[in-house]
Structures are given as structure tokens and as C-alpha cells.
Symmetry: C2
Subunit: 417 residues, 2 copies
């Protein structure tokens, strides 16, 4: 297989676009990616489009990619629509990489897009609830109801999916933030990690987001403000949870041997690894370990070589724990890394300079390529006020869904310049 | 890229499975495919799963493949969920082929699955309505309503999506059978094709279906019975329209260089071509011409070399017109081919020996791999009572969705033994 590079990236500012269609969001991202690659649309030989939830939010299933691409005049090429919950667009990027790496096509577009906001909030919750085994979840809810466990209902914008009913079947429940909270509490018990350490991750994310014109939230918060925001699921306050959002992000991939025709600064894809969860014993490596180990192996490098990272911080504790999964520090020492400021933009290994899912936002199917776009810009020195100093190697880590106790999908990309 | 072969195929009898979950249908298809390949599940290195409409029918979006695969103990491998309306599983098969052809994996599973039947029929209709540009369709319906054009509502099982409301948004309309009828009428006007010729296609399909234990409908009908069945959209009677159905089909793909380890009769993939519709002038080749020309070119053969074919007969006229697109006869002479019986199982170029979408059934996301499975069995001489005599080369043609006047996806596979 041949080496593949990214020659262009584009995204729309993440946010709440109730009256803007997916076509408009996707067009802005795709046009940005093509423009930055200096490539006209007819040069694109295939497109892979990641979206997780349009079927349930807008009713547009089946041909999501064709609908937005034909609207911008792109057609007559292979269009693959793929989904993998929150890892949908990293999966799309992986397939676009595969098309080029195989030698089948030279120039391929990867697009991730999502509109989660809907006038009827129950639609958004139903969509998020579909990232698990809906049938099992319904059985579980039925058992919980039978045991008289009442379901909380919250009004807030962040983390609210944690307590929302699943309108898809009208009776299920999305428990992602509850799961993240449980994982956070276990980390606190086992390693003595504190709420303040989790909150410090959120302080960093929001500070970074304030420097990112693409971020959905660009406000700076103090540690006290993070801790004092409404509790979603202890220890997670609202500002430690990723928000609901709309957005799109796109990238143009090209054989490395041809990349010089389009840009003087192609970003090489050193590893593209996708996998899914599995049944395993507690002492066996989990999904994250398996995928990261393989990514390091393929790229021929290790955690010490990483200069900039975008991780899947659906909640602040998820970022802290990702430090350990990535091998940036020994198991249990994620909190110490936070205290040292090692993962700040100016630290020794900056993580989520974009503001991450917490501040940049998390329009599910757009997130993976948005992470990759950020690393693309960072490696090219184009990240403006949030620029990390002279990075050579970056990594993105995108997780999706939950089936039988483990994430349903994980896609990791190692990029270099 | 290296050559890829199919070493196993399996499917569940298509039908109405209101009380059977997708997991059960998928398991039967996957276990059948693995068994026929003599491969244990842990030998599978990646899986690509095609499904079009579960998000809208069952509420299960995002991680459809992981949900059914983990249930049968398959995990820890890349799982890609893809959709392309009625071409969803041929797209899944194409991606599985790409994984192997690229050299990335040796053994990959492709699975297509669909449950269209739902206790609430409006759910099924809403799902089918999502295979077009839902936003444009809603605008069109609004205009039609404003012009006081009443919408018909039919009760029957076949072709009823033609007149059904789109429950996804509660106001749209799936017009597929109306579109097929309009195409049929144009063919009649231009070439003098008759209703009886279309009906004869349906007679053949139902006769073939009666020989296929996997077919949803296994009854034989006379020409008169086909013509006398309720009119869906002139000239399409109900028995000329593909039915709603549930089902699953799976295939195991393997590098041809390794296929001999698993079976003495691997079926080689001579071409795997996917594309999408485009804006074009009437005199320029459309999607079908583009894809078929490319498939013939890659496989290094032409229509005269085909011994058995499965085409996308969502309606009987679609099969007759496909004869011409395929180059089995000159443009306008599809009717003559029917009259000659050339496409019967015993004819010179048998088409849809399985019974096709009309009789075997059309559980959208399962159809593409079911077509491929049929050709796999035909080429291996394992097609029982519907066996074509000694075929060496076969072709499958799978179309999906409709966006801006052309099908949204088409996937063609040329297979040889």
C-alpha cells in the first residue's frame, strides 16, 4: 500500500444552526478543503461521507452524502455513506485513506457532518440514544422502570443526553454521561484523582477554545466556574461535558507521490487504524490499548514522539484518562500531568489545542475529521492563536458508541510533516 | 491491487419477520457464509455491514453492524457501517473487496441486512422515503399540496410505497414506483414495448422464485394473473413491483492467492465498480452506462461473455430496460428479448434466476449481497432447481436511491469461476 497525504482541510464553525441545512454546512467545509488544497471539485475521484444521526434527526437516511454533494455539483463518482456513531467521520477518513492507499484513486474527499439540534429536542436525544444497542437498552430501561427507578429529566444544553428519553422508541435512555461519570469516580477511587483535576482539563479546553474561531464555545472559565456549573452526573458538571452541536468538516486526501502538485506542505498519514470493541477479560488490553498500540507500531513511533494530540474528550475525565491510554504518563498519573500543565498549548505535549469536544463542540459525525483538520493546521503552522510550537507529529483519537460494555468503534490517525 | 475471491456466502429466506430481530436474521446469514467458507469467526479480520433503513424502522442507527456482530461474538476488528439505499450491501461488498484488494486484510466479511416490516406501516414508508433528497421532496410535496393534487393512499403490500406518506417528516412521499411507471410508459411510447412484455418478465421472475428456497414469494403466476393483479401505477400491477421484506445476506471475501485454503471453488471478483448519479445532458451516458462500461473494461469482457446475471428489478420494466443497458440487446429491443425467452434460466443469457427483487424479495440493505450470493452459487453449480447450465461468468447490478433525477448509487460486480 502506498503512502497517503492530506492536502486540504476545511470546516464550519461548530454551533447551533437550527435554520441552516446540512447542505449549507457541508458545502462550506468541502469548499474550504478544496480551496486549501487548490483542487477543483472535478478532480475528486471518490468521496466518503460520515454522518451518524441524520436519519433520526432530519429523516434523511440512505443517501446522505449524495444529497449534500449533488447540491454542490459533485456527482458521478463513488460516494460511500458510513457511520460509526461519534467515530463516523474518522471512519470516513479511514476509508478515503484506504481508497488512495490501495492505489485505486489518487484524490479522495472525506466529509463528516452532523445536525444534532432540532426544534424538537427529543429528536436529538433519540439520535444520541441510537449509538448503543437500542434493543438491549430498551430491555434495561424496562427492567429499571419495573424496579421503580425514576428517570431524571434535565433542561440544560450540555450533558443533557445523560438523562434524556430516547424518542426513537419513546422509552429508551442515553446513558453516556452517566457512564463517563462512573469511569471518573472509579479513577478517583483507584488513583486519588480529584474533581479539581478533571475541572482543570475543562479550564484548559475552554481557554483553548477561546483561541479557536471554529469553536462552538469561545468563553474562558475559571476553575471555580467549572466546578460551580450545574451538576450533570457527579463529578461531571455541565462545563465538563461536551455540548450538542451542528457542524461539518472535510479533508482532501491524495497519494503522497502526487501531493507536491497541490501543496508545498502536505501532511502525511503515518497510520490509520480502525477497530471495534470486544468481549475480553479485565486484564486483557481493551479497545483503546489495542488500537493505539497498533497505530504506534504502524507509524513506527511512540508516545514520546507526539508533538500535538486531539483526543475524544466527550467529557473532561475522558481526556485525562486518554493521557494514560496514550502512554503520555503511567496509569493513574493523568491528574499529575494536568497539574503540571504538560498538556497545555505551551506544555511538553499539547492535547486538544482546538478546545476539544468540550469547547470546540461535538457534532457527532463531524468530530473525527475536525480533529484531523486541527492536526493538519497545527502541523502546517496555520493554527493561529492556538498554534503549538513547531510540531512534527500529531495524533487523533476518535471513539464512537457503546455496545456490550466497550466503545463500538475507535479510529486513530497518526499524522506527520 | 491484488485479486479477491468469494469463498463463502449465506442468506436467510427473505420474508416478513415481524417478531424476529435483525440480530437473528444477520446471524443466520453470517453463520451460513462462514460455514460455507469453512472459516471460523476469529479468522475474520474486518467486517463491512450494509443497512439502509434501520435508523428509521427500528431506531437503531450509528452502530448497526457492531450490535449484530457482537451479539454473535464477533468483535475486536474494524467494523464499517455503510449505506447507499438499495445499493447498501453491494457498497459494503465493494468496501470489503477494497480491504482485501489493497492488501490490508486477507479475510473480510461483508453483511447486508434489513428489517422493513414494522407493526406501524408508516415507519416502513418513512424509511423508503429517505432514499431520496428528503428536503427537496418535502418542498415538492408542499407545492403539490398547494396545487390541490391529492395523494392517493393504497393498502396493498407491494408497491405501496409509491403512494405512501413519509412518516419521517410526516408529509413527504416516496415516488419510486411512480418513477418506474413513468420510465416504463416512455419505453412503450418510444419503442412500442407492451404491458404484456413487462408482465412476461414478472412471470419469469415468479417462476424462478418458485424454484428458490430463499425467495420471499414462491408462487407461479400466469401472464393473465400478473396483468390482473391490482394496478399500482400504470402499467405496473402489484405483481410487477418488488415487495417490502426483511432479510440478510453475507459473503466472505479472501485474497485469491489464499482462497484455495478454504474452498476448491472460489469465485473470483473480476470487477467491483461503484458510482453515483450526476448532472448530465440527455445525450451523455447516464449512471448505468458509465458503471457498466467501466465494469466490462476492468473485467476485460463484454455482454456476450455473461452466462448469468442478477439485475436490480425493483419493478419488472427495470429488468427489461436493464437488458438494454447491459448490452444484451440493442436499445429498444428488451421486449423482443423477453418474447424470445432469452433470459429464462434455460435461455442464452439467464437473468434473475433467483426470482430477482420481484419474487426473491427486496429487503433493501440485504439485496446487493443476496444478488452476489446467487451468482456465487450459480457459478459453483450449487443453485439447485434454478441452476443455470454451466456458467463461467456472472454479473450483479444493484441500484440505490434517487437524487436530482438519477439513481444515487450503482454498484456492479463481475464474478468468474
Amino acid at each position: 500500500m502506498r503512502e497517503v497525504s492530506i492536502v486540504g482541510a476545511g470546516m464550519v464553525k461548530f454551533g447551533k444552526y437550527l435554520d441552516t441545512s446540512m447542505k449549507v454546512l457541508a458545502r462550506e467545509a468541502v469548499e474550504g478543503a478544496l480551496r486549501s488544497a487548490g483542487i477543483e471539485a472535478p478532480r475528486v475521484e471518490a468521496a466518503v461521507v460520515g454522518n451518524a444521526m441524520a436519519g433520526l434527526v432530519t429523516g434523511q437516511e440512505c443517501v446522505r452524502g449524495q444529497v449534500v454533494l449533488r447540491d454542490m455539483g459533485i456527482g458521478g463518482i463513488p460516494v460511500v455513506n458510513c457511520e460509526n456513531a461519534c467515530a463516523s467521520s474518522a471512519t470516513a477518513f479511514h476509508l478515503a485513506w484506504l481508497y488512495v492507499a490501495s492505489g485505486m484513486y489518487d484524490v479522495v474527499l472525506a466529509l463528516g457532518m452532523e445536525k444534532l439540534y432540532h426544534a424538537d429536542k427529543q429528536r436529538s436525544f433519540a439520535a444520541i440514544g441510537a449509538a448503543v444497542d437500542v434493543e438491549l437498552m430498551q430491555e434495561m430501561i424496562a427492567q429499571m422502570n419495573a424496579a421503580q427507578v425514576g428517570l431524571r429529566a434535565k433542561e440544560a444544553g450540555r450533558g443533557e443526553a445523560s438523562a434524556a428519553g430516547n424518542g426513537g422508541a419513546g422509552q429508551s435512555r442515553s446513558l453516556f454521561m452517566d457512564l463517563y461519570a462512573e469511569t471518573a469516580r472509579a479513577h478517583m477511587r483507584q488513583y486519588g484523582t480529584t474533581k479539581e483535576q478533571f475541572a482543570r482539563v475543562a479550564v484548559k479546553s475552554h481557554r483553548n477554545g477561546s483561541l479557536n474561531p471554529y469553536a462552538q464555545y469561545q468563553e474562558v472559565y475559571t476553575l471555580e466556574e467549572i466546578l460551580a456549573s450545574p451538576m450533570i452526573a457527579d463529578p461531571l458538571t455541565r462545563l465538563m461535558c461536551s455540548p450538542i452541536g451542528d457542524g461539518a468538516a472535510a479533508a482532501v486526501l491524495c497519494a503522497s507521490s502526487l501531493a507536491g502538485r497541490f501543496t508545498a506542505k502536505p501532511v502525511r498519514i503515518l497510520a490509520s487504524v480502525l477497530s471495534s470493541g470486544a468481549d475480553h477479560e479485565p486484564e486483557e488490553p481493551g479497545l483503546q490499548q489495542r488500537v493505539l498500540t497498533k497505530a504506534y507500531e504502524i507509524a513506527g513511533l511512540g508516545p514520546k514522539d507526539l508533538d500535538v494530540i486531539e483526543v475524544h474528550d466527550a467529557s473532561a475525565p475522558a481526556e485525562l484518562i486518554a493521557y494514560e491510554e496514550l502512554g503520555l504518563c503511567p496509569r493513574g498519573e493523568g491528574g499529575r500531568l494536568v497539574d503540571e500543565g504538560a498538556t497545555e498549548i505551551t506544555g511538553r505535549v499539547p492535547v486538544n489545542p482546538s478546545g476539544g469536544l468540550l469547547a470546540k463542540g461535538h457534532p457527532v459525525g463531524a468530530t473525527g475529521i475536525a480533529q484531523i483538520s486541527e492536526i493538519f493546521w497545527q502541523l502546517r503552522g496555520e493554527a493561529g492563536k492556538r498554534q503549538v510550537k513547531d510540531p512534527k507529529v500529531g495524533l487523533t483519537d476518535n471513539l464512537g458508541g457503546m455496545v456490550r460494555g466497550e466503545a463500538a468503534a475507535m479510529a486513530v490517525h497518526v499524522l506527520g510533516i
